[in-house]
Amino acid sequence: MNKRKITVAVTGLNNIDSPGPGIPVIRGLKESESLDVRIVGLSYETLEPGIYMHDLVDKVYQLPLPTAGSAMLKERLKYIVNQEKIDVLIPNFDAELHNFIKIQDELKTELNIATFLPSQAVFDERQKSELEKFGEKYGVKVPESYMINQVLEIRKLEETMDYPMVIKGRYYDAYIASSYEQASTYFYKVVAKWGYPVIVQEFVTGTEVNVTAIGDGKGSCIGAVPMRKLYITDKGKAWSGISLEDDELMDISRRVIENSKWRGGCELEFIKTKNDEYYLLEMNPRFPAWVYLANGCGQNHPEALVKMALGEEVQPFTDYQSGKMFIRYSYDQIVDISEFQQISTMGER
């Protein structure tokens, strides 16, 4: 079969101990049976390991940090498309998504770059700070959560909420606090890294189960695979996990994707309690770093996303294999200083 040649730009090349989804997404694309994909890596820092993975990433350009805004991002992408055509762009960082969503129409009309992102309204709906409303709207249980801007507000929450409490940043990081002292320390830690507001969430006891899923934006869930972490790093990231067979979890996940008309990849994080109740902790608006497990289970989500971005109809996956495991490893790449110099000084390699 003749594979169609396309170029896909991917961010999230930070394949570190708290990995971005870029490299797993690329591996999925490289294994497509119908697409011959050239990969343009988009990086923010010069030590992102993916920059130097020549067998997976064909060319790399640095992007301005998300705080520089969407205008700067568009300028940089304009430069990149002057060098080579980009058919599809897959952003993989929570913090950059806002900018990409904002300019997604301009990217298509002016630069001919297709994306497959939710609208700003749907994106905002599942923000951590809006989780309670989200749960209510789509009929899924969520832990009680509050947004606070001052550390003293924790004292007020103590009247209605018991310890432990979960202290969360607006994009990343979550700490379990067993006392006011711990909660206030984590509050400042989260503020220093992610700014205000800080989310204080009820601690729900149970087993964490996660789902990687993809929606077509029209109310169909194209694919979903559930996973339980088997080994967790000190940063709380899965270093190993296994795909599950759980019909109720799949029903809840599909309902969320379908009813919210989610467009693109996402990760749903749940806690399953002893009474077999599922609490949605978060809906991350991009593929998780373990998305390659879906590929291993028979659902190539990155490939499906690219096809939908190109306007193709994609039939929902109907099956996946449970009992498939992923086990991460670390690997030392040897890189000559000249290559590091190239990306550091020229912003591309």
């Binding site: 996973m227 339980r228 088997l230 296994i242 795909s243 599950l244 067979e245 449970s322 009992g323």
Partner: protein, 81 residues
């Protein structure tokens, strides 16, 4: 007592629960009991089988079987249905 749906039991005693992702290893006697449960054997029949197979008195066999069954239950491998 019934083994939960889709629990995989290999001959060498490796048990996998695809719903929770848990896996376990059991010894030969464990495999024997699980296999009997899978074949639809009742607790009484399995108790009798155990006594015959391993030449056990009722007290020992009952105690060991109950211990094993409650462990299977706590790991969500069997249900009361």
């Amino acid at each position: 007592m019934k083994i939960r749906k889709n629990i995989a039991i290999s001959e060498n005693g490796f048990i996998f629960n695809p719903m929770t992702g848990d896996s376990f290893s059991v010894n030969e006697t464990g495999v024997y009991i699980l296999q009997k449960l899978k074949d639809g054997g009742s607790e009484e029949t399995i108790l009798q089988n155990l006594m015959d197979e391993y030449e056990l008195d009722t007290y020992t066999a009952e105690k060991d079987l109950n211990d094993f069954l409650s462990m299977l239950k706590s790991y969500q491998l069997i249900t009361n249905e």
